[in-house]
């Protein structure tokens, strides 16, 4: 399985190149656009295939810079005329609240809460 990974101990973002799925786990509290840039680059590479799934079921915490980063990625999906599927967890309270909000910017985004 070909993978590409970014991690720092508190979080990991792994792209499975075969399925084009990006799995983000742990706690993401990076500061601003600059610190989120490497993960954005990983997602953009995945988006180059047109369809990308981002699995956030293991992402316990995301700060406000992180949700803004996901929103910006959603805009890029729309501009690239790609498709995005987000997988979240019903057990993590902010998933139900904020992941659905991404559909306010790009209604076509599919959000699956499991």
């Amino acid at each position: 399985m070909a993978t590409q990974e970014i991690s720092d101990g508190s979080y990991s973002a792994i792209r499975n190149k075969d399925t084009n799925e990006v799995t983000i786990r742990g706690t993401l509290r990076l500061n601003g656009t600059a610190e989120y840039a490497p993960i954005m680059a990983l997602l953009e590479e995945a988006l180059s295939a047109g369809m990308v799934t981002v699995d956030l079921r293991g992402l316990q915490f995301l700060n406000s810079s992180g949700i803004a980063f996901l929103m910006r990625f959603a805009v890029k999906v729309r501009e690239a005329k790609g498709s995005l599927r987000l997988r979240g967890s019903k057990k993590i309270p902010w998933h139900s609240k904020s992941l659905q909000n991404l559909q306010r910017i790009v209604p076509e985004i599919r959000v699956d809460l499991e």
Binding site: F61, L62, N63, S64, I67, A68, M71, R72, V75, P93, W94, K97, S98, N101, L102, R104, I105
Partner: protein
């Protein structure tokens, strides 16, 4: 001059694009703020939960200070001087053997509940509940200037609160409880000790062991303190007395002080004398065994009980000889009455007589005492 339609069209497209970006930005700001509000609210809920849970062991002030420090900095290992308070119920193990399990839990919860409130109010941090014993730290996890004095005030307040505990005990038809307290001040290592799965904030070091040892010298109602605690506590400490002891692990004998109160808190000062003490018209014979490390020595020495009170007695050995050492434990077989356990609390008459406090006695002995000193048995 008219603008070509193609340019107008191009500008309209750009304006539409800018409007859309502007709308995107507004949506991003709005949803980001909503997310931030949501996680703030979640964080506050968690903080409240931690405050509630942790607040049962330390004061709200300590919880707030710890929550405001990044990564629980205060809980890493650190060497510092603190005051350790160790308390224990006297004779509770024997009582626990006689009562049903649910009664024991009810009694402990009542006692520990009242004591926890007193400790939190005094600024102490509960290190552990050890059955009926409580270990409390003053000066950890948060540094405290006057930790020895605060610990003394806490100990006196805990003894005063025993009135409330025993009122509850009477209401529920349980026997009265007595508590002994030991205090020591010294250098310890504080921090989280344990494994990843289970850790506990605690203090380790000789000073902690000595606090336990001092507490083991106490009888019901006592607040005993080491010289180090007394010196650190400052002026105005009312003493009932002092005695030399040579605890295991100590390089030499140490002086233990019995604390009666504090000048500035007369409401917490206690009476020293045992008003119920009576001289026996005819001394009562008793066999006396030393108890060492919870084991009764094989050979008793014959003795006489000269004075008796609701709480203790004054004895002498029939055949003379040195009195049992201070704070040592004895088993008494009171001839024709029954068995009792006691602790030596004073030497009198140049060591020819010694005073003991009962730590445990049979119902027959309790009835005999009540008869002699004319107080109702509990």
């Amino acid at each position: 001059m008219s603008v070509p339609p193609s340019i107008i069209d191009e500008y309209q497209k750009r304006i539409a694009e800018l409007e859309r970006r502007c709308q995107d930005l507004e949506t991003i700001i709005e949803t980001t703020s909503e997310h931030a509000d949501f996680i703030e609210a979640e964080l506050e809920k968690r903080n409240q939960f931690i405050r509630h849970l942790f607040g049962r062991y330390v004061t709200q002030e300590v919880v707030d200070q710890i929550l405001s420090m990044p990564d629980g900095q205060t809980l890493v290992g650190e060497r510092r001087v603190i005051t350790i308070l160790s308390s224990d119920l006297r004779g509770f193990t024997a009582m626990a053997e006689r009562l049903p399990a649910e009664d024991i839990i009810r009694i402990l919860n009542c006692y520990l509940g009242i004591m926890s409130d007193v400790i939190a109010g005094s600024g102490g941090t509960i290190g552990a509940f050890l059955g009926d014993g409580i270990v409390v730290y003053f000066g950890a996890p948060i540094q405290m200037e006057n930790h020895a004095r605060k610990a003394l005030i806490c100990a006196l307040s805990m003894q005063a609160a025993m009135t409330r505990v025993n009122h509850e005990m009477r209401e529920r038809g349980y026997p009265a409880l007595e508590m002994g307290i030991g205090l020591n001040t010294g250098d310890v290592v504080v921090g989280n000790v344990g494994s990843e799965q289970r850790a506990q904030y605690g203090a380790v070091g000789g000073a902690v062991n000595l606090a336990f040892r001092i507490e083991s010298y106490s009888v019901g109602g006592d607040v005993l303190a080491s010289d180090a605690t007394l010196r650190a506590a400052g002026e105005g400490v009312l003493l009932w007395g002092s005695a030399q002891a040579f605890p295991k692990g100590s390089p030499g004998p140490i002086t233990i002080f019995s604390i009666g109160g504090l000048d500035e808190l007369p409401e917490l000062s206690r009476r020293h004398s045992d008003a119920t003490a009576v001289e026996l018209p005819a001394p009562q014979a008793a066999n006396i065994w030393p108890v060492l490390e919870k084991t009764v020595a094989p050979n008793p020495s014959p003795g006489l009980i000269l004075r008796l009170s609701a709480k203790g007695a004054t004895l002498t050995f029939l055949e003379g000889g040195a009195p049992p050492s201070m704070f040592s434990n004895l088993r008494l077989d009171i001839t024709g009455v029954g068995e009792a356990y006691a602790k030596v609390t004073a030497h009198e008459d140049a060591g020819r007589r010694f005073v003991v406090r009962f730590t445990q006695h049979s119902p027959a002995v309790e009835r005999w005492i009540a008869d002699v000193v004319n107080v109702p048995s509990s």
